[in-house]
């Protein structure tokens, strides 16, 4: 591949310096280690790992996923090894990776969130936290916190008070006005905002006359949701004082540029990593091609589409 020119791509989010604006979306990149045989982790801006909870979670019964036009619906149920296992067994194996590792955290209660944040605060090798208040696939917590501004405020405040690490809050698109949520989590002290998580959806197996996935409802991701995500980033940018990270159906550098032009400082690649484990690096290469061709830099283009 062509060398990615450092200065034109470098961005900073809440003190986290990244060589390029491409992060991996939580839940689509495992604990990072799984991708070592397929991609150059060092060439990714930042790695965000699978959502971590206080105790291990088994996840939902199957079927958990179904393909949709240009996308997929999932209800994994935040299956994860738990924060302690992550710190003790996964994190040490990532220490040689020359890219920031961000832990995505999740709780069923406000105090769960605070406790997970606290445990990660003292862990070596965590560059920041991303607070998941937007998972649609669990009964308690998750999106409940992400669709009500007062609840979102409580969770983010509690996390903020429990860590010195940079705090990114991941917002749900399943709200009427994203700007209300942006203000709430900024008031609570978030350092940055990532959006969007999956959009709730449903697929019905007409032959069996029942929902295609066991959880009945799931989260829609992939290129199908990209225009919705771009619109929400653009709306969020109209009020946000903190940096935004755009997520939703990015598979190419051009896709990523839409989010950057709409107002995102960085982006996350999610579902695309399932199809090509090297997708995040390819998106970074695509962004490089774009800024080189236009003789500019990522930082200069954040929000350049205007209002």
């Amino acid at each position: 591949m062509k060398e990615i020119s450092v200065n034109a791509l470098a961005v900073e989010i809440a003190g986290i310096r990244m060589k390029n604006p491409v992060m991996t979306a939580s839940g689509t990149f495992g604990y990072g280690l799984e991708f070592k045989p397929y991609t150059r982790l060092d060439a990714i801006g930042a790695v965000i790992v699978k959502g971590l909870s206080l105790r291990p979670r088994p996840g939902n019964p199957g079927p958990r996923i179904v393909e949709t036009p240009c996308g997929m619906l999932n209800a994994i149920g935040l299956q994860n090894v738990g924060v302690d296992c992550f710190i003790n067994e996964k994190l040490p194996l990532l220490k040689d990776v020359k890219t920031p590792v961000i832990a995505n955290i999740f709780g069923e209660t406000v105090s769960d969130y605070a406790e997970v944040a606290k445990r990660l605060d003292s862990a070596q090798g965590v560059a920041g936290l991303e607070v998941n208040i937007s998972c649609p696939n669990v009964k308690a917590g998750g999106m409940v916190f992400g669709t009500d501004p007062a609840s979102a405020y409580k969770v983010v405040s509690a996390v903020r008070a429990s860590t010195r690490l940079p705090v990114i809050t991941k917002l749900s698109p399943n709200v009427t006005d994203i700007r209300v949520m942006v203000r709430a989590v900024e008031d609570a002290g978030t350092d940055a905002i990532s959006l969007i998580n999956t959009i709730t959806g449903m697929v019905i197996d007409t032959e069996r006359r029942r929902p295609a996935i066991a959880n009945r409802i799931g989260g829609l991701s992939g290129p199908a949701i990209r225009p919705i995500a771009v619109r929400m980033v653009w709306e969020a940018a109209s009020v946000a004082k903190t940096p935004l990270i755009g997520i939703g159906g990015i598979t190419t550098g051009t896709d990523a540029m839409e989010f950057i032009l709409a107002g995102a400082t960085a982006v996350q690649v999610g579902t695309a990593s399932f199809i090509d484990p090297d997708a995040a690096v390819k998106v970074a290469e695509g962004i490089n091609e774009y800024v080189t061709r236009h003789k500019t830099s990522v930082a200069a283009l954040v929000g350049a589409v205007g209002r």
Partner: protein
């Protein structure tokens, strides 16, 4: 494990809706029972790769053959691909079969396209018995490949056009001796029945499972199946067909939930 584009050498119908796909890709290493994730379209719809069992290394060794049946959108698109076109290949993936202990009497049970991963297995374990259940005689056209390997083949067909009329489990009853080891792949009801029969007679049994999956490398966590009584830690309640399997010992699976 490789992530590359492979060229199609041939893609020919070998049975009703059955296609043999020859790719100019020779995996560096591959174990019987492993699979690949194929990208059947460069576009965004269908979006996900599809898992396919590796059937065999091409004679001459210049590539591999995958055998598939047209069942949905992805396989329909794949069936229209012509020689010279290229496909994204990720693999080989999964654990593959555990080889039977020396001296064991190996019984393979295949239902429909479940025949695919058993071919490379039979290639390594010469002389294993194949019990092959299909809808009709026409669907059983690849049985000849197994006969060439010296495998005794016994057929069961739903319409009775070949072998016994009925399900392949009818044939298994007579084969479930103490010294047998069963290797099964096929539709869920067949696997359930095989697992129950093996458990009943105390016979060791391996099953190769199929589930919808997005990634094939253990990260989307989409292909979960519930573990059996031996499932240990809380976060191991579910096993991933792609990365923990696709081959499991049948007692590892909760067949009630399957």
């Amino acid at each position: 494990m490789e992530n590359l584009d492979a060229g199609i050498i041939y893609n020919k119908e070998v049975g009703p809706g059955y296609f043999l796909l020859g790719l100019d890709w020779r995996p560096l290493a591959f174990k019987p029972g492993q699979f690949v994730m194929l990208r059947v379209s460069d576009g965004l719809d269908p979006l996900l790769r599809r898992p396919f069992g590796i059937y065999r290394v091409m004679s001459g060794g210049n590539g591999v053959e995958l055998l598939y049946q047209v069942v949905g959108k992805g396989t329909r698109i794949l069936s229209l691909k012509r020689p010279g076109e290229r496909l994204g290949v990720l693999g080989p993936l999964g654990n593959g079969f555990t080889m039977p202990p020396k001296g064991a009497r190996v019984v393979m049970v295949a239902g429909g396209m479940g025949i695919v991963p058993l071919y490379p297995f039979a290639h390594e374990v010469r002389g294993a018995v194949l019990l092959y259940g299909t809808r009709d005689a026409a669907q059983a056209s690849v049985a000849g490949d197994f006969k060439e390997l010296g495998c005794p083949v016994r057929h069961a067909t739903e319409d009775g056009s070949l072998g016994v009329k009925g399900y392949v489990t009818e044939l298994l009853k007579e084969e479930l001796t103490r010294d047998a080891v069963v290797y099964a792949c096929g539709p869920a009801p067949m696997l359930k029945a095989v697992a129950a029969m093996a458990a009943g007679s105390g016979t060791q049994c391996y099953v190769s499972l199929e589930r919808s999956m997005a990634c094939g490398i253990g990260v989307c966590l989409g292909c979960a199946v519930k573990g059996g009584a031996h499932a240990d830690a809380e976060n191991k309640l579910y096993k991933m067909v792609c990365s923990d399997g696709p081959v499991f010992e049948s007692k590892e699976i909760d067949w009630e939930a399957f």
